[in-house]
Amino acid sequence: MAEPVRVAVTGIGSISSLGHNVAEIWAALEAGKSGIGQLTQAPLDQVNIKIAAEVKNYDETKRFDERELLVYDRYTQFALLAAKEAMADAGIDFKKDAALGLETAVIVASGVGGWSTIDQAFYSLHKLNKPRAHPLTIPRMMISAAASQISMKYGLKGPAFCISSACSSSNHAIGEAYWMIRTGRAKAALAGGSEAEISLTSQRSWESLRVMASDTCRPFSKDRKGMVIGEGAGILVLERLEDAKRRGAKIYCEIAGYGLSADAGDIVMPDADGAARAMRQALQSASLAPDGVDYINAHGTGTQLNDATEVKAIKTVFGDAAKRLMVTSTKSMHGHALGAASALEAVATAKAIVEGVVPPTANYLGPDPDCDLDHVPNTARQAKIRAALSNSLAFGGLNAVVAFKAV
């Protein structure tokens, strides 16, 4: 039997509250610097939670021309910027390699798609009683807009679609892209996700769920109060490892496995068993033993319940090996970017592997007895990472775990 196809990460691109490109974002992650600050995309006097992890100093008119902006929602803009950076980083120009473009997949996740476009349309129709909606409302808001715009802009003609599974969306996208390459359905893929839903309607809706922190995001820490909403995009270029080696590409790491499960429990309460099954499956599909993993980029939202449940699940899967694992949540720095969260975390994990540096859990105040693993508090740590998991445990019990291996 032929050796299974191995899948390499050869390009990464990202934009988040930590910066407009991977270099800026990694510098912040390495410094343990948080991108959480005062909310600007909603009137402060109309919200109770006045913080968010927003993309800062962002002027869309400097990044796109007028015609493009007519049809690009903020979420699509972020996806396009991350995709452009990732392709340049991978050194692939699809305009010059149309044959590869025919066999390249575009799987771009989002939790809600063009939320600000929907918001605006509702406002002008319901509140302002405008006689008509903007003609580009639908193409801007549709949750697959980012996948479409990336494929159109770069001539990528393989399988293209959006995956939406709340906070696991991007891990599902990366995992499915990995499977497509592994099974020969595509030669290469752009995979990740984008989200930009920070607004009055989103913030107030999250507030009502009572899972938001009013101070900051402190995953695994004592006195943690909840999550902080973020935004941004992360895109990975995936290709067959043999192709990457043949063309002499820079290789960040390998996507080595993928595990997914559903809790079939509660719409908001996490379940340790569901999370454990996804992690176990990711390890198995990557042929990894628990003691072969050095780092977990955790879901780590900063809510009391998520973090305690996730630690419990990790202990169940890793047993004694859990003691020497480093388990951090970079949401402490880039916030919870929902459908884009695991894409931002995949970028952080790929960088952690090549740089040999584990990004810390920022804003950490001290241990919580329910979260007693090595959470690398506040200061990054130099460490050789042989393999890592990136966990996503979404509302609605949809879990997706991606396994990364150093090459």
Partner: protein
């Protein structure tokens, strides 16, 4: 709004959102014993905020809830604070 009206309204909301027989609710009932699911709890808080036009702070340590009496007391305080503010 009298204290009794506040109490009755709160019992109505809890009974409706958590699908609990209203007749079983007393001021001494412990919230824990009602085994209210997380989503029902946020619905109850939403119902209270809506009915009394108040904001129930989420990490206010003074808002420690054990019995229904604590809930009623907490809401009374919020309503009084609001009246003072608008007076």
């Amino acid at each position: 709004m009298t204290d009794e009206e506040i109490r009755e309204k709160i019992f109505d909301i809890i009974a409706k959102e958590a699908r609990i027989d209203r007749g079983t609710l007393t001021l001494e009932t412990k919230l824990e014993d009602l085994k209210i699911e997380s989503l029902d709890m946020v619905q109850i808080l939403f119902g209270i905020e809506d009915a009394f036009d108040v904001y129930v702070p989420q990490d206010d340590q003074s808002f420690k809830l054990s019995t229904l009496n604590d809930v009623v007391d907490g809401v009374k305080r919020l309503v009084a604070a609001k009246q003072q503010q608008t007076a």
